[in-house]
């Protein structure tokens, strides 16, 4: 027995079939893309806490500014490796002493932001301050990377 109902020729089955085929194409391409490509920024496999990072450049140093409200400065870790600056840390969930969370929009847990610096920096001269929830990391450029005037003799 045929389960597909016979379509009378004067109806327009082609229009319906067209929509189904494009849906299948869309599904195929969705699975072809790497899962993390649509998540932007750091290419992490899942969106978690990703604090905003701004990078400034001047003639002789870079400044990285990260918004990290409500952290203790001992919980922030800054490291520099091969020209890549990584800022990471963890915000621990405070113990519940009979409290009920009604609405949590603040992220809890670990974060990690990395940014590759366009020019070499001197790791021994990096400094950072954490005030009002803003972390400011100052990275002086390495001597040979600073712009230099060349005299024409």
């Amino acid at each position: 027995m045929n389960l597909i109902r016979y379509q009378a020729p004067d109806s327009t089955p082609w229009l319906a079939l067209d929509r189904w085929s494009s849906l299948r194409d869309e599904l195929n391409s969705f699975f072809d893309m790497p899962f993390w490509s649509s998540f932007g920024r750091t290419g992490q496999l899942f969106t978690g806490w990703s604090p905003a990072l701004d990078l400034y450049e001047s003639g002789d140093h870079f400044v990285a500014v990260v918004e990290l409200p409500g952290m203790r400065k001992q919980a922030i870790d800054i490291s520099l490796h091969d020209g890549m600056l990584t800022i990471s840390g963890e915000r621990k969930r405070e113990s519940n002493n009979g409290e009920t969370a009604l609405r949590t929009e603040r992220y809890v847990g670990a974060f990690r932001r990395s940014i590759t610096l366009p020019t070499r920096v001197d790791p021994s001269k990096v400094s950072a301050t954490y005030r009002d929830g803003i972390l400011k990391v100052t990275l002086p450029k390495a001597e040979e990377a600073k712009p230099k005037q060349i005299q024409v003799s």
Binding site: A52, L68, P69, R72, R103, E105, I134
Partner: protein, 123 residues
Amino acid sequence: MNTLTRETRETDRGQAEQFITPAASVTEIADGYTLEIEMPGVKKDGLEIFVENNELTIIGRRSLPAVEGTLIHRESVPENFRRMFEFDPSIDADKISAKIDQGLVTLTLLKAEHVKPRKITVS
């Protein structure tokens, strides 16, 4: 607690100020609620908190550190923060306290005395 957010508002200065909505967490405690609102870059004198009827408004005006150099990569939004909450009438508006530490504003709202369960003795 319900949240109300409105994007722009006419201030006394006569111009509409643009705000962004900060992340907030609400926790119920023994005698009321604790609100934690993330406002990085806001100092104590940049905070404006007021209560009107049953609506609590928190505005944080940022004073961002001056950075020398050209901005080559930006992810932050340098606007001021505003969040409004409508709280239930059992909260005593005179007992709202606030503090700010490293850009995190913590507000404590306590329930009014008469709302707490009270035993009535029979004479």
